[in-house]
Amino acid sequence: MIPLVYNARSMMQRPVSTTFTAVGIALVVAVFIGMLALGQGLRAALARTGSDRNALVLRKGADSELASGIGRDAARVLAASPHVATGTDGRPLLSPEVYVLVPLPRPNNPTAVANVVVRGVSDQAWSVRSNIQLVAGNRPTSGRMEICVGRKLLGRFEHLDIGASLHFAGRDWTVVCHFSAAGSAFESEIWAENEQVMPLFRGEVFQSITFRLKDAGAFDDAKRALEADPQLGVDVHRESDFYAKQVGILGIMLSVLAFGVTGIMAVGAIFGAVNTMYAAVAARTPEIAVLLTVGFRPRQVLLSFLAECLLIATVGAVLGALLALPVNGIVTSTTNWTSFSEIAFSFRVTPLLLLLGIAFGVVMGVVGGFFPAWRASRLRVIQALR
């Protein structure tokens, strides 16, 4: 084995070229991680929204809460179902909800509006959704036009401070609390009491009913029983699956973008690595010949040059991962095209993504270094020494 020191010293001999190659790879890795982090953030926000202990009930055939409608009768029938868990107060853990979108003006661009979800919930909703936590204020009082605002909306829209009054649907609503929901899509919503929201929008109908399953493992039984009831006419989804599926077309687009763009960039970076290494091999022809003459085997020379390229790539990849790290937590927003509402989410750089990015960079190095290393190992000693 040719000592790695040889490779390290060789790299120092041409600092500019080594740096350029490493930085090129670093940029590719950074873009790769950044774009995957975007998709990951969206997926995480939606995946965390639902709980696998909850069931979400929509009208049969409806693919989103927006498209659904469930009458009060059905809500009463559901509340009596044996599949619904009961809370400590003995009441069913079930929340019939009104789901509407309201346009809120963006502060930085008053002509543009964002469609924000206003969810009318029952007082049970706060227990049914176990990831909801108040970060400030107190829950809306029943019978009052009070709202609780998701944390991710703060700072992106005006009039959301506690005590402020927000105008929508022709009424003024008082902000009484802010809530967090473990980074989920709920944090992009405004919650109020369902009975306050209902008459203002669509009349006597809920959009969805979410309930806690008595036995999370018995979801299939609950689904079968409720969907078979012709009186109800509903589809039952596991809440976690329902939200995870909303990633939909946006998720596909982000993945295509991530892999397409970085794939093309990677090819460019590999070309760069190939160029650098070929030049390195060419410049060091006499050196290689000496190595071969003193008894190192061609395979060892191949490994040595491969190791050198790997070293550059690894340095670049780690640098790229470090470059990508600061995007973690940056909040961005887009429209969830399944529900047509605006959803805010954070870039999420996970350890797995970092590893993936570094692995990607290392692979670029190996691919880019192989042929030049191969050439180095095949050098004819006599010719090279001449």
């Binding site: 090129g24 940029l27 498209a67 469609n115 070309f271």
Partner: protein, 381 residues
Amino acid sequence: MKYWHLVTANLRRHKLRTALTILSVALALFLFASLRSVVTTLHTNSQFGGARRLVAMNKTGIVFILPVSYANKIKGLRGVRSVSWANWFGGKYGENARDFFPKFAIDPESYLGMYPEIKLPEDQKQAFLRERTAALVGKGIADKFGWKVDQNITIQGTIFPGDWTFTIRGIYEPSDPAIGDNVMFFHHEYFDERLGHAGIAGWFVVEINNADSAAAVAKEIDDQFQNSSAATKTGTEKEFQAGFATMLGNVSLLMGAIGTAVVFAILLITANAMMMSASERTGEVAVMKTIGFSNRTVFTLVLVEAGVIALAGAVIGLGVAKGFYPLIKFQGFGFLPGFNVTPLTMLWGLLLALGLMLASGLVPAMRAARLPIVQALRRVE
């Protein structure tokens, strides 16, 4: 240039290196053109809108409906030429999220009258207008699903439950790509009937006589319904589309960031290759200078070599971008109808290539020009 053969000879010396460098420039400019085109297409589409078309929708929000009876009241207003209305119809065709396409229930005669951009043969148009359960579909989705005229298709209702079967009577091609060739239109009358004559419209499209009176007419419409059960918000079609574009979020920023990283990464790679090939030739340059090549000529030669690489890469990259997307009919999953690499993007690409040439060729060229002969020759083995 009489030393052209010197440039080509140098480029041919390491054919693989030259090819790889040209290809990485090509890839960079292909990506640049693609990303910039996303931004320009979004922008163009957000600018879409007939100057004489207004859109009136429910003030409470985009998902709320208006009574279809408003049409008659709007029609009576001064300056209004005609009124049409439409409803968003969710609905599923196929299970896959990729199979989604927009479906609108429209008042056919007035709608097609207002949108001359929707082009289809006259006999198909008449057949579509005549039949209550007829559908008019864009060429894009017709090709995608292999639909033919007179074929029946069934849509599963989501917002409006049940199975909805339509007969395709027409296939249109939009003359303005922003309309999209992936929309399905059908009769509002049939829609209304299945809903038990609910009399709902998602929005109204109002054609006015004079584009200058848009603001006045919009205000008049909104005033008219100010105190009704459903107040309206009316604006030009352009405003409506622009609002839609902002819903995607800060795509432009994202594309810009990626584009910068891409271009910068490739710049490094090209500059690296150029510098390496220049440093290998230190001895040669010294010899050339010895036999009388001026500093300036040496400088120019190196720079021209960089230029040839950058230009060749630009032509390939931009050319492929221009030709490739129309070939696969790329529309960004329906979000980017009329996706197109504009001439301005091509020009920017060329400028970038020029910048690349300067950035990657300048240092080696200057180094070559300033090279002291004696020192350089001493290094020759």
